[in-house]
Symmetry: C2
Subunit: 384 residues, 2 copies
């Protein structure tokens, strides 16, 4: 079959709050061919990605993504890889390309899987899927008491691991300590605790080093994103001095950049977003490289369950990479995008859907309920 049609849906909450919550808007890709429909979700800034998809050509390596996808053959995995290669050749000099294309790649694999009547993870080479330990991804509370309450709530919801992120973490040592003590208290001794610093220390290794003791006392499984995503040397220094296990990689926009994060940043957990890194196949290549280097692969997901399922496909069959990020503070938009959801079981595990494609059923009502109308004209001609 051929890719006959591609549509992009820009969705948004009525109000976007000034918080680090990527579930407030979404760009959904719908890809059609051979009577089937595939769905995927792209990363942030829907308008920028729409422009990237349909922009006039600048030169031979800065073409609209649409040109490499629409009308392409799609009968097997080799065809998907050919599309990926063409996008890289034709559009990589536009910096937005990995963000825009990642969601389209997910939709393309979903479409191919529907034709083949199998889950995506089978199409890409996993014999089966293995359940993952879900870690609840939440923000620190405004006070240590709130953090403690969030921790106990997650425990009550059967989670075996909880990650706390951002808010003001990293800016006041005593406050950081109080929140870490509260989080550990709420989780009691047996649950895993992860901490996401959201790049708060930039390039400043010494600020990070000040927190090593309190992080170790709280027995954290990892410290995530202490520095800017490209600051490999700083990651590596912190790891060597402190022996604290580090996690990072959510901004990796290519297989190569993720490999660099592993090789030079010495992370022990590489966190890949299928909507950013290039798609599900990029994730699979990264997972292989990670595990060969004794690094665990983990999905990065802070948006819909469509994206959650997509991000899990890359390492569905892995036994070495055991953890999965499970977003727990979604805005209604992100929850409403799918009719079905991935639910944690009583032991704190999630199962990757074994249905056809990524297994998530799109709620088309939500596409209209949250829809943002976009019109783009170039020289008076409507191109979107």
């Amino acid at each position: 079959m051929k890719i006959e049609n591609i549509e992009l849906f820009y969705l948004s909450m009525p109000e976007i709050l000034d918080e680090a919550d990527g579930s407030q808007d979404a760009l959904i890709a719908k890809v059609e061919g051979g009577g089937f429909i595939g769905w995927g979700e792209c990363e942030a800034s829907p308008l920028t990605s729409i422009a990237n998809f349909i922009c006039p050509k600048s030169h031979s390596a800065a073409k609209p993504i649409k040109d490499s996808v629409l009308g392409a053959d799609l009968n097997n995995l080799a065809d998907v890889k050919k599309i990926i290669h063409n996008v890289k050749q034709n559009s990589l000099m536009i910096a937005q390309t990995p963000h825009t294309f990642s969601g389209i790649e997910v939709a393309i694999l979903d479409l191919l899987s529907k034709k083949n009547q199998s889950p995506i993870y089978e199409i890409i080479g996993h014999k089966n899927s293995n359940p993952k330990i879900a870690y609840a991804s939440v923000l620190f509370g405004n006070t240590p008491d709130e953090t403690l309450k969030k921790a106990s709530d997650m425990r009550l919801k059967n989670f075996k691991a909880v990650k706390f992120g951002w808010q003001n973490f990293g800016t006041d040592l005593n406050n950081d300590k109080d929140h870490l003590i509260a989080a550990r208290e709420g989780l009691e001794n047996d649950l895993m605790l992860m901490v996401d610093a959201g790049a708060v220390w930039g390039n400043n290794v010494s600020e990070a080093l000040k927190r090593v003791e309190i992080l170790k006392e709280a027995n954290v499984t990892w410290l995530e994103e202490p520095f800017y995503s490209d600051a490999f040397d700083e990651y590596s220094q912190l790891n060597k001095i402190s022996s604290l296990p580090l996690a990072g990689g959510e901004s990796c926009h290519s297989v190569e950049s993720a490999k660099n994060m592993i090789k030079y940043g010495n992370v022990k957990f590489i966190q890949i977003d299928a909507g950013i890194a290039g798609g599900i196949l990029a994730g699979k290549d990264i997972a292989k490289f990670a595990e060969e280097n004794d690094v665990q692969y983990v999905n990065h997901t802070f948006t819909s369950h469509l994206q959650l399922s997509a991000s899990l496909q890359s390492y569905a069959g892995s036994l070495k990479s055991k953890l999965a990020e499970y977003p727990m503070q979604l805005k209604s938009l992100a929850w409403d995008i799918t009719k079905n959801h991935i639910i944690i079981d009583k032991d704190g595990y999630i199962n990757i859907p074994s249905d056809i494609g990524h297994g998530m059923i799109i709620n088309e009502d939500a596409l209209f309920k949250y829809k943002v109308d976009v019109e783009i004209k170039v020289n008076q001609k409507k191109i979107f």
Copy 2:
């Protein structure tokens, strides 16, 4: 003063050819404040960058660039650094941001320099500027004879160094050899010859190794972009096995990514585009790090003389970094953007303009002659 107004001008040749020539369109930024006007040029895909500039907010780290720039104080270099910091905090989760902001940063520094009545290089801390050896940047001919002719033409134009790039280089060993012999013959023994492979070998080190002998026989000063820009390990392997001096970095979109290219890719020449890496100040930080590591800093420029001057400011005062890329195959659009041009002298050197700002006078007629009209509506409201 404050930044009171920002305008973006999308310019294009009437027809965009399917060649790797970034001078076929342009996005020009005009920034106004205190009665002065500053000008800069952003990297490829004008429509994508325009969307990035004015897009609705997605979350606290994915805001339109406009929000961090318009209305900002601009009285000294610290104010510029504050704007850069804010853009990084507010917009870095949109992948396009470095491309879009780089040209705006150039315009901001031009504006500040006009207020201070000094060249940009003085504002950023260079006491003076030193002439650079211009290398002519051209494409290989379609035949070895054409390559030979181009080489002798550049010699007649007083160049002391010439770089040949892409076309079909790297795909046929015998053909590559013929072109290299022709290039060296045309340049005679005394001129420097550089070769730009345009990432033709992707991740394939052995394809590159096959060319080491013929490159050494042609006595190349460097081999540029043998691999994908993030393939640091491959760069490093090639350099270690062959001891061939490598050059790269045109895709570096941050200070950190350029440092990584130097540290892990072992390049001997780091090529930075002021319209991609984050602007002139990012370039200055990269130049400092490069020279501390015995690496020469070189501008990357394949577009207008506005961008050429901007890219030279970062290392204007350096005595260690002696070379400058000088584009020789510009489309009329790129040439017409400025009224004045940087001209090589009889010894093959170029002087960085010592006039106020970046020293280039914008040809406002060209802004209208080549203008592309763009209209963007979001929920029926015109936002551009």
